[in-house]
Protein backbone atom coordinates (compact mmCIF):
# COMPACT_ATOMS: atom_id res chain seq x y z
CA UNK A 1 0.00 0.00 0.00
CA UNK A 2 1.29 3.40 -0.93
CA UNK A 3 0.50 6.69 0.71
CA UNK A 4 0.15 10.08 -0.84
CA UNK A 5 1.30 13.05 1.19
CA UNK A 6 -0.87 16.11 0.72
CA UNK A 7 -0.24 19.72 1.50
CA UNK A 8 -2.72 21.32 3.89
CA UNK A 9 -1.85 24.99 4.19
CA UNK A 10 -3.61 28.32 3.89
CA UNK A 11 -4.43 27.84 0.20
CA UNK A 12 -6.24 24.59 0.93
CA UNK A 13 -8.11 26.13 3.86
CA UNK A 14 -9.18 29.08 1.70
CA UNK A 15 -10.55 26.74 -0.94
CA UNK A 16 -12.63 24.82 1.61
CA UNK A 17 -13.85 28.10 3.08
CA UNK A 18 -14.93 29.42 -0.33
CA UNK A 19 -16.84 26.26 -1.27
CA UNK A 20 -18.60 26.35 2.11
CA UNK A 21 -19.42 30.02 1.65
CA UNK A 22 -20.92 29.62 -1.84
CA UNK A 23 -22.88 26.47 -0.97
CA UNK A 24 -23.84 27.35 2.60
CA UNK A 25 -22.97 23.78 3.60
CA UNK A 26 -20.62 22.43 6.25
CA UNK A 27 -18.33 20.15 4.26
CA UNK A 28 -17.27 18.29 7.41
CA UNK A 29 -20.82 17.07 8.03
CA UNK A 30 -20.13 14.42 5.42
CA UNK A 31 -19.05 11.10 6.92
CA UNK A 32 -18.44 9.45 3.54
CA UNK A 33 -21.29 6.94 3.58
CA UNK A 34 -21.48 7.05 -0.21
CA UNK A 35 -25.26 7.21 -0.47
CA UNK A 36 -25.03 10.21 -2.82
CA UNK A 37 -22.88 8.28 -5.28
CA UNK A 38 -24.95 5.10 -4.94
CA UNK A 39 -28.16 6.89 -5.89
CA UNK A 40 -26.65 9.18 -8.49
CA UNK A 41 -28.06 8.58 -11.96
CA UNK A 42 -24.79 9.67 -13.54
CA UNK A 43 -22.12 7.95 -11.39
CA UNK A 44 -21.05 5.80 -14.32
CA UNK A 45 -20.17 8.91 -16.33
CA UNK A 46 -18.13 10.58 -13.56
CA UNK A 47 -14.36 10.13 -13.26
CA UNK A 48 -14.66 10.77 -9.51
CA UNK A 49 -17.82 9.82 -7.68
CA UNK A 50 -19.71 12.47 -5.72
CA UNK A 51 -18.45 11.33 -2.31
CA UNK A 52 -14.88 11.17 -3.63
CA UNK A 53 -15.20 14.78 -4.80
CA UNK A 54 -16.53 15.77 -1.39
CA UNK A 55 -13.58 14.02 0.22
CA UNK A 56 -11.20 16.02 -1.96
CA UNK A 57 -12.97 19.22 -0.88
CA UNK A 58 -12.68 18.19 2.78
CA UNK A 59 -8.95 17.80 2.23
CA UNK A 60 -8.71 21.11 0.37
CA UNK A 61 -7.35 19.39 -2.73
CA UNK A 62 -8.35 22.15 -5.12
CA UNK A 63 -6.54 20.88 -8.20
CA UNK A 64 -8.05 17.40 -7.95
CA UNK A 65 -11.50 18.88 -7.45
CA UNK A 66 -11.26 21.24 -10.40
CA UNK A 67 -9.81 18.54 -12.67
CA UNK A 68 -12.67 16.09 -12.03
CA UNK A 69 -15.68 16.07 -14.36
CA UNK A 70 -18.11 15.21 -11.55
CA UNK A 71 -19.63 18.67 -11.11
CA UNK A 72 -20.07 19.12 -14.87
CA UNK A 73 -21.83 15.76 -15.25
CA UNK A 74 -24.17 16.53 -12.33
CA UNK A 75 -27.52 17.65 -13.77
CA UNK A 76 -28.87 18.99 -10.45
CA UNK A 77 -31.61 16.37 -10.14
CA UNK A 78 -31.15 16.66 -6.35
CA UNK A 79 -31.53 12.93 -5.62
CA UNK A 80 -28.37 13.12 -3.47
CA UNK A 81 -29.68 16.16 -1.60
CA UNK A 82 -32.96 14.56 -0.58
CA UNK A 83 -31.30 11.29 0.46
CA UNK A 84 -28.24 12.52 2.38
CA UNK A 85 -28.48 11.13 5.94
CA UNK A 86 -26.47 14.14 7.16
CA UNK A 87 -28.90 16.53 5.46
CA UNK A 88 -26.16 18.10 3.37
CA UNK A 89 -27.35 19.81 0.20
CA UNK A 90 -24.94 17.76 -1.89
CA UNK A 91 -26.14 19.26 -5.18
CA UNK A 92 -25.38 22.72 -3.76
CA UNK A 93 -21.78 21.58 -3.24
CA UNK A 94 -21.60 20.57 -6.91
CA UNK A 95 -23.07 23.96 -7.80
CA UNK A 96 -20.48 25.66 -5.59
CA UNK A 97 -17.62 23.95 -7.43
CA UNK A 98 -19.14 24.99 -10.78
CA UNK A 99 -19.57 28.56 -9.53
CA UNK A 100 -16.03 28.61 -8.13
CA UNK A 101 -14.74 27.84 -11.63
CA UNK A 102 -17.20 30.06 -13.52
CA UNK A 103 -16.40 33.10 -11.39
CA UNK A 104 -12.85 32.88 -12.74
CA UNK A 105 -13.54 31.49 -16.21
CA UNK A 106 -17.13 32.24 -17.11
CA UNK A 107 -17.38 30.20 -20.30
CA UNK A 108 -17.46 26.46 -19.69
CA UNK A 109 -19.75 26.41 -22.68
CA UNK A 110 -19.36 28.72 -25.66
CA UNK A 111 -22.83 29.75 -26.73
CA UNK A 112 -21.53 31.06 -30.07
CA UNK A 113 -20.31 27.55 -30.94
CA UNK A 114 -23.77 25.98 -30.75
CA UNK A 115 -25.04 25.46 -34.31
CA UNK A 116 -28.04 27.60 -35.23
CA UNK A 117 -30.30 24.68 -36.14
CA UNK A 118 -29.63 23.13 -32.72
CA UNK A 119 -30.49 26.44 -31.03
CA UNK A 120 -33.73 26.66 -32.98
CA UNK A 121 -34.76 23.10 -32.23
CA UNK A 122 -34.01 22.83 -28.52
CA UNK A 123 -36.59 23.73 -25.86
CA UNK A 124 -36.04 27.09 -24.17
CA UNK A 125 -35.71 25.47 -20.76
CA UNK A 126 -32.81 23.31 -21.97
CA UNK A 127 -31.00 26.38 -23.28
CA UNK A 128 -31.69 28.65 -20.32
CA UNK A 129 -30.88 25.85 -17.86
CA UNK A 130 -27.63 24.98 -19.55
CA UNK A 131 -26.52 28.61 -19.92
CA UNK A 132 -27.20 29.24 -16.26
CA UNK A 133 -25.23 26.19 -15.20
CA UNK A 134 -22.33 26.42 -17.60
CA UNK A 135 -21.67 30.14 -18.01
CA UNK A 136 -20.87 32.74 -15.38
Amino acid sequence: MSYEYIKFGQEEKDFIEKIQEISGQNIYSCYQCGKCSAGCAFSNKMDKTVNQLIHFIQMGQKEKVLKANTHWICASCLTCTIRCPREIDVAALMEAVREYILREEPEKMKIADIPKDVLNKLPNIALVGSFRKKTG
Binding site: A75, P123, I125, V128, G129, K133
Partner: protein, 299 residues
Protein backbone atom coordinates in the same frame (compact mmCIF):
# COMPACT_ATOMS: atom_id res chain seq x y z
CA UNK B 1 -66.09 29.08 -12.11
CA UNK B 2 -62.95 29.33 -9.95
CA UNK B 3 -60.12 31.21 -11.61
CA UNK B 4 -56.41 30.64 -11.03
CA UNK B 5 -53.52 32.94 -11.79
CA UNK B 6 -51.54 30.80 -14.20
CA UNK B 7 -47.82 31.08 -14.98
CA UNK B 8 -47.03 29.31 -18.27
CA UNK B 9 -43.26 29.62 -18.51
CA UNK B 10 -41.50 29.83 -21.85
CA UNK B 11 -41.77 26.28 -23.13
CA UNK B 12 -45.53 26.11 -23.02
CA UNK B 13 -45.55 28.69 -25.81
CA UNK B 14 -43.03 26.86 -28.02
CA UNK B 15 -42.27 23.14 -27.75
CA UNK B 16 -45.12 22.22 -25.44
CA UNK B 17 -48.15 23.96 -26.95
CA UNK B 18 -50.13 20.75 -26.63
CA UNK B 19 -49.48 20.73 -22.87
CA UNK B 20 -50.81 24.25 -22.37
CA UNK B 21 -53.82 24.10 -24.68
CA UNK B 22 -55.06 20.79 -23.29
CA UNK B 23 -54.53 21.91 -19.68
CA UNK B 24 -56.51 25.11 -20.25
CA UNK B 25 -59.29 23.21 -21.99
CA UNK B 26 -59.67 20.63 -19.23
CA UNK B 27 -59.39 23.30 -16.52
CA UNK B 28 -62.45 25.02 -17.98
CA UNK B 29 -64.36 21.76 -18.05
CA UNK B 30 -63.50 21.25 -14.38
CA UNK B 31 -64.71 24.77 -13.47
CA UNK B 32 -61.21 25.83 -12.44
CA UNK B 33 -60.00 28.06 -15.22
CA UNK B 34 -56.28 28.75 -15.69
CA UNK B 35 -55.91 32.44 -16.58
CA UNK B 36 -52.50 33.53 -17.82
CA UNK B 37 -50.61 36.27 -15.96
CA UNK B 38 -50.55 39.07 -18.57
CA UNK B 39 -46.94 40.24 -18.17
CA UNK B 40 -44.96 37.24 -17.00
CA UNK B 41 -41.24 36.69 -17.49
CA UNK B 42 -38.96 33.64 -17.48
CA UNK B 43 -38.50 32.21 -13.98
CA UNK B 44 -34.88 31.24 -14.68
CA UNK B 45 -35.61 27.52 -15.18
CA UNK B 46 -32.97 26.12 -12.84
CA UNK B 47 -32.88 27.46 -9.36
CA UNK B 48 -29.51 28.69 -8.17
CA UNK B 49 -28.21 26.74 -5.21
CA UNK B 50 -25.65 29.38 -4.26
CA UNK B 51 -26.17 31.35 -1.07
CA UNK B 52 -24.76 34.60 -2.35
CA UNK B 53 -26.37 35.24 -5.72
CA UNK B 54 -29.57 37.26 -5.36
CA UNK B 55 -29.50 38.35 -8.99
CA UNK B 56 -30.71 34.94 -10.14
CA UNK B 57 -33.60 35.13 -7.67
CA UNK B 58 -35.07 38.38 -8.96
CA UNK B 59 -36.86 36.83 -11.95
CA UNK B 60 -38.89 34.27 -9.99
CA UNK B 61 -39.77 36.79 -7.27
CA UNK B 62 -40.98 39.18 -9.96
CA UNK B 63 -43.23 36.43 -11.30
CA UNK B 64 -44.74 36.01 -7.83
CA UNK B 65 -45.25 39.78 -7.47
CA UNK B 66 -46.97 40.02 -10.85
CA UNK B 67 -49.13 37.03 -10.09
CA UNK B 68 -50.27 38.78 -6.91
CA UNK B 69 -51.29 41.86 -8.95
CA UNK B 70 -53.03 39.60 -11.44
CA UNK B 71 -55.39 38.33 -8.72
CA UNK B 72 -57.30 41.63 -8.87
CA UNK B 73 -58.55 40.75 -12.36
CA UNK B 74 -59.75 37.29 -11.38
CA UNK B 75 -63.04 36.06 -10.01
CA UNK B 76 -63.48 33.64 -7.14
CA UNK B 77 -59.75 33.18 -6.78
CA UNK B 78 -57.26 32.30 -4.06
CA UNK B 79 -53.65 33.29 -3.52
CA UNK B 80 -52.40 30.49 -5.74
CA UNK B 81 -50.12 30.82 -8.72
CA UNK B 82 -50.50 27.67 -10.79
CA UNK B 83 -47.78 26.22 -13.01
CA UNK B 84 -47.72 23.41 -15.54
CA UNK B 85 -44.00 23.09 -16.18
CA UNK B 86 -42.37 21.16 -13.35
CA UNK B 87 -39.14 23.16 -13.59
CA UNK B 88 -41.03 26.45 -13.14
CA UNK B 89 -42.93 24.83 -10.30
CA UNK B 90 -39.74 23.87 -8.53
CA UNK B 91 -37.97 27.21 -9.07
CA UNK B 92 -40.93 29.32 -7.94
CA UNK B 93 -41.63 27.16 -4.89
CA UNK B 94 -38.02 27.15 -3.71
CA UNK B 95 -37.61 30.90 -4.08
CA UNK B 96 -40.92 31.50 -2.31
CA UNK B 97 -39.68 29.46 0.65
CA UNK B 98 -36.27 31.10 0.59
CA UNK B 99 -37.60 34.63 0.82
CA UNK B 100 -39.83 33.52 3.70
CA UNK B 101 -36.75 32.29 5.54
CA UNK B 102 -34.58 35.27 4.63
CA UNK B 103 -36.55 38.54 4.85
CA UNK B 104 -33.34 40.54 4.35
CA UNK B 105 -32.84 38.96 0.94
CA UNK B 106 -36.41 39.81 0.01
CA UNK B 107 -35.82 43.41 0.96
CA UNK B 108 -32.82 43.57 -1.38
CA UNK B 109 -34.78 41.92 -4.19
CA UNK B 110 -37.72 44.26 -3.63
CA UNK B 111 -35.34 47.20 -3.91
CA UNK B 112 -34.76 46.04 -7.50
CA UNK B 113 -38.43 45.37 -8.18
CA UNK B 114 -39.46 48.80 -6.92
CA UNK B 115 -37.86 50.32 -10.00
CA UNK B 116 -40.84 48.86 -11.87
CA UNK B 117 -43.27 49.76 -9.06
CA UNK B 118 -43.54 46.17 -7.97
CA UNK B 119 -42.97 44.56 -4.59
CA UNK B 120 -43.47 41.08 -3.25
CA UNK B 121 -44.72 40.44 0.25
CA UNK B 122 -44.68 36.61 0.51
CA UNK B 123 -48.40 36.29 0.06
CA UNK B 124 -48.59 33.84 -2.83
CA UNK B 125 -48.62 30.08 -2.78
CA UNK B 126 -47.19 28.16 -5.73
CA UNK B 127 -49.18 25.13 -6.88
CA UNK B 128 -48.58 22.72 -9.67
CA UNK B 129 -51.70 21.98 -11.74
CA UNK B 130 -51.49 18.36 -10.55
CA UNK B 131 -51.88 19.59 -6.97
CA UNK B 132 -54.94 21.59 -7.97
CA UNK B 133 -56.39 18.52 -9.70
CA UNK B 134 -55.78 16.34 -6.65
CA UNK B 135 -56.49 18.71 -3.75
CA UNK B 136 -59.02 21.24 -5.03
CA UNK B 137 -60.86 19.43 -7.81
CA UNK B 138 -60.49 15.81 -6.79
CA UNK B 139 -60.26 12.65 -8.86
CA UNK B 140 -64.00 11.95 -8.47
CA UNK B 141 -64.90 15.07 -10.41
CA UNK B 142 -62.29 14.21 -13.03
CA UNK B 143 -63.76 10.72 -13.37
CA UNK B 144 -67.25 12.13 -13.83
CA UNK B 145 -66.06 14.20 -16.81
CA UNK B 146 -64.60 11.22 -18.68
CA UNK B 147 -66.59 10.48 -21.84
CA UNK B 148 -64.03 8.23 -23.48
CA UNK B 149 -62.23 6.01 -20.94
CA UNK B 150 -58.65 5.34 -22.05
CA UNK B 151 -59.09 1.58 -22.18
CA UNK B 152 -56.05 -0.34 -23.35
CA UNK B 153 -53.66 2.47 -22.55
CA UNK B 154 -50.96 1.11 -20.25
CA UNK B 155 -49.26 4.27 -19.21
CA UNK B 156 -46.20 4.52 -17.04
CA UNK B 157 -46.06 7.80 -15.11
CA UNK B 158 -42.64 9.41 -15.33
CA UNK B 159 -42.35 12.14 -12.70
CA UNK B 160 -38.84 13.34 -13.46
CA UNK B 161 -36.86 15.13 -10.78
CA UNK B 162 -38.43 18.51 -10.40
CA UNK B 163 -41.96 17.50 -9.38
CA UNK B 164 -40.54 15.74 -6.33
CA UNK B 165 -37.21 17.43 -5.54
CA UNK B 166 -36.20 19.12 -3.35
CA UNK B 167 -38.25 18.85 -0.15
CA UNK B 168 -39.40 22.47 -0.51
CA UNK B 169 -40.87 21.89 -3.96
CA UNK B 170 -42.34 18.38 -3.79
CA UNK B 171 -45.94 17.93 -4.89
CA UNK B 172 -46.25 14.41 -3.46
CA UNK B 173 -44.33 11.83 -1.45
CA UNK B 174 -40.70 12.07 -2.60
CA UNK B 175 -40.00 8.34 -2.90
CA UNK B 176 -43.50 6.95 -3.47
CA UNK B 177 -45.67 9.46 -5.34
CA UNK B 178 -49.16 8.47 -6.49
CA UNK B 179 -50.74 11.57 -8.00
CA UNK B 180 -50.07 10.63 -11.64
CA UNK B 181 -51.10 7.01 -11.05
CA UNK B 182 -54.38 8.12 -9.46
CA UNK B 183 -55.02 10.54 -12.30
CA UNK B 184 -54.35 7.91 -14.97
CA UNK B 185 -56.67 5.45 -13.29
CA UNK B 186 -59.42 8.04 -12.99
CA UNK B 187 -59.17 8.45 -16.79
CA UNK B 188 -59.67 4.73 -17.32
CA UNK B 189 -56.05 3.99 -18.24
CA UNK B 190 -53.90 1.39 -16.53
CA UNK B 191 -51.00 2.87 -14.55
CA UNK B 192 -47.80 0.86 -14.87
CA UNK B 193 -45.23 1.37 -12.12
CA UNK B 194 -41.66 1.80 -13.27
CA UNK B 195 -38.83 1.92 -10.71
CA UNK B 196 -37.16 4.64 -12.81
CA UNK B 197 -40.14 6.98 -12.37
CA UNK B 198 -37.87 9.83 -11.27
CA UNK B 199 -34.53 8.75 -12.72
CA UNK B 200 -33.13 11.99 -14.18
CA UNK B 201 -33.44 12.21 -17.98
CA UNK B 202 -30.24 14.27 -18.28
CA UNK B 203 -32.08 17.57 -18.36
CA UNK B 204 -30.20 20.51 -19.91
CA UNK B 205 -27.24 18.32 -20.90
CA UNK B 206 -29.15 17.82 -24.16
CA UNK B 207 -27.53 21.07 -25.34
CA UNK B 208 -23.91 19.95 -25.30
CA UNK B 209 -23.69 16.41 -23.89
CA UNK B 210 -26.36 14.53 -25.80
CA UNK B 211 -24.79 11.13 -25.10
CA UNK B 212 -25.59 11.51 -21.40
CA UNK B 213 -29.26 12.08 -22.19
CA UNK B 214 -29.33 9.19 -24.66
CA UNK B 215 -28.07 6.77 -22.00
CA UNK B 216 -30.61 7.94 -19.45
CA UNK B 217 -33.54 7.82 -21.87
CA UNK B 218 -32.70 4.29 -22.98
CA UNK B 219 -32.88 3.06 -19.38
CA UNK B 220 -36.04 5.01 -18.51
CA UNK B 221 -37.95 3.76 -21.54
CA UNK B 222 -36.74 0.18 -21.23
CA UNK B 223 -37.77 0.00 -17.56
CA UNK B 224 -41.31 1.03 -18.51
CA UNK B 225 -41.45 -1.20 -21.59
CA UNK B 226 -40.42 -4.44 -19.86
CA UNK B 227 -43.22 -3.89 -17.37
CA UNK B 228 -45.75 -3.77 -20.18
CA UNK B 229 -46.25 -0.03 -20.65
CA UNK B 230 -47.27 1.21 -24.08
CA UNK B 231 -46.95 4.95 -23.28
CA UNK B 232 -45.37 7.37 -20.84
CA UNK B 233 -47.06 10.26 -19.03
CA UNK B 234 -44.97 13.29 -18.02
CA UNK B 235 -45.40 16.78 -16.57
CA UNK B 236 -42.15 18.41 -17.68
CA UNK B 237 -41.57 19.83 -21.18
CA UNK B 238 -37.85 19.02 -20.96
CA UNK B 239 -38.38 15.40 -19.90
CA UNK B 240 -40.92 15.14 -22.71
CA UNK B 241 -38.56 16.56 -25.30
CA UNK B 242 -35.59 14.48 -24.17
CA UNK B 243 -37.45 11.18 -24.02
CA UNK B 244 -39.40 11.74 -27.22
CA UNK B 245 -36.52 13.03 -29.31
CA UNK B 246 -33.85 10.67 -28.01
CA UNK B 247 -36.05 7.64 -28.69
CA UNK B 248 -36.21 8.79 -32.29
CA UNK B 249 -32.38 9.01 -32.39
CA UNK B 250 -32.07 5.53 -30.85
CA UNK B 251 -34.63 4.18 -33.35
CA UNK B 252 -32.68 5.59 -36.28
CA UNK B 253 -29.43 4.06 -34.98
CA UNK B 254 -30.72 0.64 -34.04
CA UNK B 255 -33.76 0.18 -36.25
CA UNK B 256 -36.05 -0.59 -33.33
CA UNK B 257 -39.70 0.13 -33.79
CA UNK B 258 -41.14 -0.21 -30.30
CA UNK B 259 -40.69 3.33 -28.99
CA UNK B 260 -43.17 4.57 -26.43
CA UNK B 261 -45.13 7.73 -27.21
CA UNK B 262 -44.80 10.46 -24.57
CA UNK B 263 -47.97 12.21 -23.40
CA UNK B 264 -48.40 15.17 -21.13
CA UNK B 265 -50.88 14.18 -18.43
CA UNK B 266 -53.20 16.95 -19.63
CA UNK B 267 -53.26 15.52 -23.17
CA UNK B 268 -54.57 12.25 -21.79
CA UNK B 269 -57.19 14.17 -19.81
CA UNK B 270 -58.26 16.05 -22.94
CA UNK B 271 -58.57 12.79 -24.87
CA UNK B 272 -60.66 11.20 -22.13
CA UNK B 273 -62.83 14.33 -21.83
CA UNK B 274 -63.52 14.23 -25.56
CA UNK B 275 -61.86 17.57 -26.37
CA UNK B 276 -60.92 18.31 -29.97
CA UNK B 277 -57.81 16.53 -31.21
CA UNK B 278 -56.04 19.63 -32.59
CA UNK B 279 -55.29 21.10 -29.17
CA UNK B 280 -52.97 18.17 -28.45
CA UNK B 281 -50.51 19.30 -31.14
CA UNK B 282 -49.47 15.69 -31.71
CA UNK B 283 -47.67 16.90 -34.86
CA UNK B 284 -44.95 18.31 -32.54
CA UNK B 285 -44.14 14.83 -31.20
CA UNK B 286 -41.33 12.79 -32.73
CA UNK B 287 -42.95 9.47 -31.76
CA UNK B 288 -46.46 10.03 -33.10
CA UNK B 289 -48.95 9.06 -30.36
CA UNK B 290 -51.79 8.89 -32.91
CA UNK B 291 -50.54 5.50 -34.15
CA UNK B 292 -51.04 3.94 -30.72
CA UNK B 293 -54.32 5.79 -30.15
CA UNK B 294 -55.66 4.49 -33.48
CA UNK B 295 -54.64 0.93 -32.59
CA UNK B 296 -56.53 1.25 -29.32
CA UNK B 297 -59.49 2.91 -31.09
CA UNK B 298 -59.20 6.00 -28.91
CA UNK B 299 -59.19 8.58 -31.71
Amino acid sequence: MVQYSYFPGCNLKTNAKGFEETAIAVSKKLNSELVEIPNWNCCGTVHTMTTDNLMKRIAPVRVLARSKNHLEDLKDTSNHVVTLCSMCNSTLKIVNEEVKENPDDLETINFQLEEDNETYSIDMEVKHFLEVLRDSIGFEQIRSNVVKPLEGLKVSPYYGCMLLHPEKAKIDDIEMPTVLEDLMESLGAEAIFSPLFKYCCGSYHIVDQEDIVAGQVEKIVEAARVRGANALAVACPLCAYNIDQQQKVIDEKTGRKDSLPVFYFSQLMALAFGESLEINHFEDHEIDPRILLEELKLL
